[in-house]
């Protein structure tokens, strides 16, 4: 039994769903952001696996772009957490219902 691209895709899918579970279940925004990082990295793994299967480095450039977007997303997400925490000493995602109306 050899390891081909489908093994990597299955691994990527499992990791993605662990990330989804983290975002849905955890109410700590920091851990939710980490779960989002997990999902982005699972997508990156799939891209790298496909790039290797086709011997085409466009996938690598796309992963580079995703890493940049992930860095921007983490920075802005953490900035929002800090801004919310500064106004109210609480960062439970369920309590932050100002936009809920």
């Amino acid at each position: 039994m050899t390891v081909d691209v489908s093994n990597y895709i299955a691994l990527s899918a499992v990791m993605f769903f662990i990330g989804v579970a983290g975002v849905v279940l955890r109410r700590n925004p920091l851990i939710a952001l980490m779960a989002i990082e997990l999902m982005l990295n699972a997508a990156n793994l799939a891209l790298v696996a496909f790039a290797r299967a086709w011997a085409n480095n466009a996938g690598h450039v796309f992963v580079f772009l995703v890493v940049t977007v992930a860095a921007a997303e983490a920075a802005i997400g953490l900035a929002i957490v800090v801004a919310v925490f500064r106004r109210a000493k609480n960062v439970d995602v369920d309590e932050v219902a100002r936009l809920h109306g």
């Binding site: 279940l25 990156n44 290797r52 919310v84 439970d92």
Partner: protein, 200 residues
């Protein structure tokens, strides 16, 4: 093959560890193990440059950002508030969604080729890992990045610019300082209502 299964096991275990920990600091440690394992998986896929990027940018920069924010928020303040566990309520739909998604995935893997057809396989052009200008090396990646993929590279710069401006706008220092426009900012800040609903 053994490397793939060992790394995959560590990858999944560390991901589960990340989302199940009570304290975000432990989650960061789990995420660190996850990212390092992922970098190793990239090396098994000939993506040398991306493996290094994974180590430097993710394990170095992004996780450091998380650690700083955790240190900033949890100093002298109680733990994050706790609520009822949401798992029982969403377990059935979540399992259904996972089964459907993996069903589609298995169908796709079994019925459509994920890789190129054997006639078009260019695995021979991948070359030996470690030598210059083979698939996934820094030379190969850089050549693509600055020639055929120049537009995505420029968009990357723009995304980072947006992130920097956004972070300064959202979490910028609101304390009085002799900078331009700080009076305007102070006045606006007084009219703001609290973001958190009281009494919940």
């Amino acid at each position: 093959m053994i490397a793939f299964y060992a790394l995959g096991l560590v990858l999944i275990a560390s991901a589960i560890f990340t989302i199940t920990q009570r304290s975000p600091v432990y989650s960061v440690v789990g995420l660190l193990v996850n990212f390092i394992t992922l970098a190793a998986l990239y090396f098994t896929l000939n993506a040398e440059f991306l493996g290094v990027i994974q180590l430097v940018v993710y394990s170095g920069a992004i996780l450091m950002l998380f650690v700083f924010v955790i240190a900033l928020l949890s100093s002298g303040i109680g733990p994050f508030s706790e609520g009822p566990n949401r798992l029982p309520r969403i377990l059935a739909p979540a399992l259904l969604a996972v089964v459907i998604a993996f069903g589609f995935l298995a169908f796709g893997v079994l019925h459509a080729p994920l890789g190129p057809p054997a006639s078009a396989a260019r695995t021979a052009s991948v070359g030996t890992v470690g030598s210059a200008n083979v698939f996934g090396s820094v030379g190969d990646f850089g050549t693509a990045l600055f020639t055929t993929q120049l537009l995505p590279f420029e968009i990357t710069a723009f995304v980072l610019m947006v992130a920097v401006v956004g972070v300064v706008t959202i979490a910028g220092d609101a304390s009085p300082s002799p900078t331009l426009g700080h009076h305007v900012r102070r006045k606006r800040g007084k009219e703001r209502e609290p973001i958190v609903k009281a009494g919940r």
